[in-house]
């Protein structure tokens, strides 16, 4: 029996299609990269199909092209399915049973804890304003007191200077 020698026709396209197909499956599974998976899968399908037709025409090996075509189609289907499921998954999440709603609840709880801590430590806004007012009043009082003290000291200094000048004058007269 004569065995026909297989050529390499379409092999390169088949390899590219298979690689893109496998990548599209991985990216589709990852969920948040489903758009890239869709593009990779679609390109993989085209490359594998072209490679398959080349292989058929020139008696090339069809296995790798078939593999690439199947995996790419699986990748595209998975990406499409995940797009639909992701939509419903997010809808359910918005309805209130999934983990990220719980995460939002957790965030709310942590905010409440922060508020409680602020209350305990007396950092409430109203209290802070009162405290600032009192601080301003105290500052004003301190300024007044200091002013009075300074004026007193000034008077006393003036008086003592006057006395000293008088005594100096007396001493001059005696001389």
């Amino acid at each position: 029996m004569d065995e026909q020698v297989k050529t390499n026709a379409g092999q390169g396209l088949g390899i590219a299609g298979l690689v893109l197909g496998i990548l599209s499956v991985i990216l589709a599974i990852m969920g948040c990269t489903f758009l890239i998976a869709l593009v990779f899968g679609a390109v993989g399908v085209i490359l594998s199909a072209v490679g398959l037709s080349q292989a058929k025409r020139s008696n090339g090996a069809k296995g790798i092209n078939m593999g690439g075509l199947v995996v790419s189609i699986i990748g595209v289907l998975m990406a499409l399915t995940i797009t639909v499921f992701l939509g419903s998954f997010i809808k359910k999440a918005n309805d209130g049973n999934y983990w990220w709603n719980k995460l939002e609840q957790f965030e709310n709880v942590s905010e409440e804890i922060d508020k409680e801590i602020e209350k305990e430590l007396g950092y409430e806004e109203d209290k802070m304003e009162d405290l600032e007012k009192k601080m301003e009043e105290l500052e004003g009082e301190i300024k007044d007191t200091v002013k009075e003290e300074v004026e007193k000291a000034k008077k006393e200094a003036d008086e003592s200077i006057k006395k000293a000048e008088e005594e100096l004058d007396k001493l001059k007269d005696e001389q």
Partner: protein, 132 residues
């Protein structure tokens, strides 16, 4: 030993090893501190919500810097997924070396074994983040 990279299986192994190296380089170049990851979460862009796989790029960037605690914070499944790529990298290199000296019949058996193991590992590592 005479190495000839002309079989499709060997070429595919080289391509995947290269892609995984690029993934590691990507994780090394872009970092959480610089906030410069170029691939956004598709679901966040379209639906405005996070999915179980959101934060993987940031987590991978932390893993290549050996900050595993921080990586878990960005995505709790990131270490398992990173292990998949890590195992796959060495598997691709090992199988490439092995396939160079194999007969065609044995190579076919190896390809079946490899695809079964890799599919199983893929499902095991990615199962928690499939949004189905």
């Amino acid at each position: 030993m005479h190495f000839r990279f002309n079989k499709p299986y060997q070429i595919i192994n080289i391509i995947f090893a290269g892609i995984i190296i690029l993934l590691f380089i990507y994780s090394g170049i872009f970092s959480v501190r610089k906030e410069n990851h170029p691939i956004p979460s598709n679901s966040e862009l379209i639906f405005g919500k996070k999915t179980p796989s959101t934060g993987l790029s940031r987590a991978f960037s932390e893993i290549v810097r050996f900050d595993f605690k921080s990586a878990k914070r960005y995505n709790p499944h990131s270490i398992k997924i990173f292990i998949f790529f890590f195992v796959q990298f060495f598997l691709r290199i090992g199988l490439l070396w092995l396939s160079c000296s194999m007969k065609k019949k044995n190579l076919n058996q190896l390809i079946v074994l490899d695809s079964s193991f890799s599919t199983g590992l893929l499902l095991y590592c990615f199962w928690d983040i499939i949004p189905l």
